[in-house]
Symmetry: C2
Subunit: 150 residues, 2 copies
């Protein structure tokens, strides 16, 4: 897959790369193309097999989890025009949850586990997962606009 792949022109992937750059606090990826920032999130079965089953997530991995939910929150904002606040709550061991709050509505609520193994088989699978979460969140906002507008 290269940057010529049309998936790089989708709102989600563009936003995901923007978020990854924003959270790259040490400038490790300065001047690098978007694919390079996405790359550590793509875990083929072979790469995943190399990560121990149990482990503490490092700062970069946690930043990638945040980038993923920040990107979804930004897309929610674009769609519904309401502020969406992502909240990632993790123990040191990499367990916890991701929330996206819109007004007083929990638009998205996801249990996180084994965050040190956070990743997706392919960029297309990452986008599919994001689209699914986005659709659920937007549907819930549509169902409870009053709570989302509080």
């Amino acid at each position: 897959m290269t940057a010529a792949d049309p998936i790089y022109q989708t709102d989600f992937v563009k936003e995901m790369i923007r978020q990854l750059r924003a959270l790259d606090s040490y400038g490790t990826y300065d001047g690098q193309p978007g694919e390079k920032l996405i790359e550590p999130l793509l875990l083929t079965p072979e790469r995943k097999a190399q990560i121990p089953l149990v482990g503490d997530p490092d700062e970069e991995t946690v930043a990638r989890v945040k980038a993923f939910y920040n990107a979804i929150a930004t897309l929610i904002e674009k769609e519904c025009g309401l502020m969406a606040v992502p909240i990632i709550n993790l123990t040191h061991e990499g367990f916890g949850r991701a929330l996206i709050i819109v007004g007083k509505l929990v638009a998205l609520d996801k249990t996180l586990r084994d965050v040190h193994r956070f990743g997706f088989e392919s960029l297309s699978k990452m986008k599919t997962e994001a689209d699914k979460l986005l659709a659920v969140a937007l549907e819930r906002i549509g169902a409870y606009p009053e709570v989302a507008g509080l």
Copy 2:
């Protein structure tokens, strides 16, 4: 103020002491009466003046913040019969927010700052603040029972 004070018989204070004991992971207060566990939370203006304006909260202080919101969450559960999940999200510098989620409703949402100075002038003020937060949460749950029941 002593344990003979009727405030120690209120639901909130009893629950607060229970939560403080549960979060006393090193057993520092084993065998001590409830007042002793509450005591570090009571910051008279003189005691507050001794705490630096800027500082990182230590583990015990964060545990006390959690105890406070856990106690409120427990009282919410008792009142409405629905599960209430407290979420405390803090930076190392002691800024962040406290949420209590009931179903998909944010029943309580409070900005936290200067958590290293977390405390109340008196036990009565602590209880008043808890009662106020509880009332707001229960009112919101009453207004949006469908979202709280999701």
